[in-house]
């Protein structure tokens, strides 16, 4: 009884996939659509996804296609995030694994909230110098004090005055 309840419970999953790079670029979207359809048929509710894009692999991977082993240095990487009853996930996993164009796939359980920072990541943001900018006619803060730039002569004078005082 408890087991049945667990199996019926909705769970958030994420599938990251790497498709072989020998697929022509124009057929990749169709291939991804097939994968998406297989999820929709099982009643998946999509929470997020990223279209497959060609990536250079960090290391060479091999896949056996027919009798020969093929080596790949690039692949189309994409991901889906979806919600699905736990009992359906085994079938999904099997269908993804058996896909002839699948180089690697990773199925994980995750949280509903967005975890992927992407271009919002603090690493990438830190490359852009963070300086307060004032847009035309808009002040960032009311208390901001604008200090005029001092010329070299003015600075020399003030230093001389300080030395005399001492």
């Amino acid at each position: 009884m408890e087991k049945n309840m667990k199996e019926d419970k909705m769970q958030v999953y994420e599938i990251g996939y790497m498709l072989i790079s020998s697929i022509p670029e124009e057929k990749v979207t169709a291939e991804v659509a097939k994968l998406k359809d297989s999820l929709l048929k099982k009643g998946a509710e999509f929470l997020g996804e990223e279209a497959a894009e060609l990536k250079t692999l960090a290391y060479q991977m091999t896949k056996k296609i027919g009798p020969t082993h093929h080596r790949f240095d690039t692949g189309y990487f994409g991901w889906f995030k979806f919600e699905l009853p736990a009992k359906e996930i085994e079938g999904i996993k099997k269908s993804f694994e058996e896909n002839p164009h699948m180089l690697r796939m990773l199925l994980i359980t995750t949280v509903r909230e967005n975890t992927y920072l992407g271009k919002k990541s603090p690493v990438l943001m830190s490359e852009v110098p963070v300086e307060p900018t004032v847009e035309s006619g808009v002040e960032l803060s009311g208390e901001a004090v604008v200090v005029p730039k001092a010329s070299v002569e003015e600075m020399d004078k003030s230093i001389d005055a300080m030395v005399k005082e001492a």
């Binding site: 790497m18 692999l57 960090a58 990487f77 990773l106 975890t115 992927y116 603090p122």
Partner: protein, 67 residues
């Protein structure tokens, strides 16, 4: 002086394997993970980081070894 955890400072509660630019910060030139003694990452985040790095390696987003 104690270092602050990078993930706690930036309010990153779930470390994602797809954020490879962040993960790379915590790998040495040989692509091995940096100890939390050096990086200052808290124990909870270090465990999440280890899982994320291993997932990224499996999918070929990060290398197992380099140089």
């Amino acid at each position: 002086m104690n270092k602050q955890c990078y993930f706690m400072e930036n309010n990153i509660r779930n470390i994602d394997y797809k954020d490879t630019e962040i993960l790379k910060k915590f790998l040495n030139p040989h692509a091995r993970m940096i100890s939390r003694k050096k990086s200052g990452v808290c124990a909870k985040s270090q465990r999440q980081l280890a899982v994320a790095v291993k997932r990224a390696r499996f999918l070929g987003l990060l290398p197992y070894v380099a140089r």
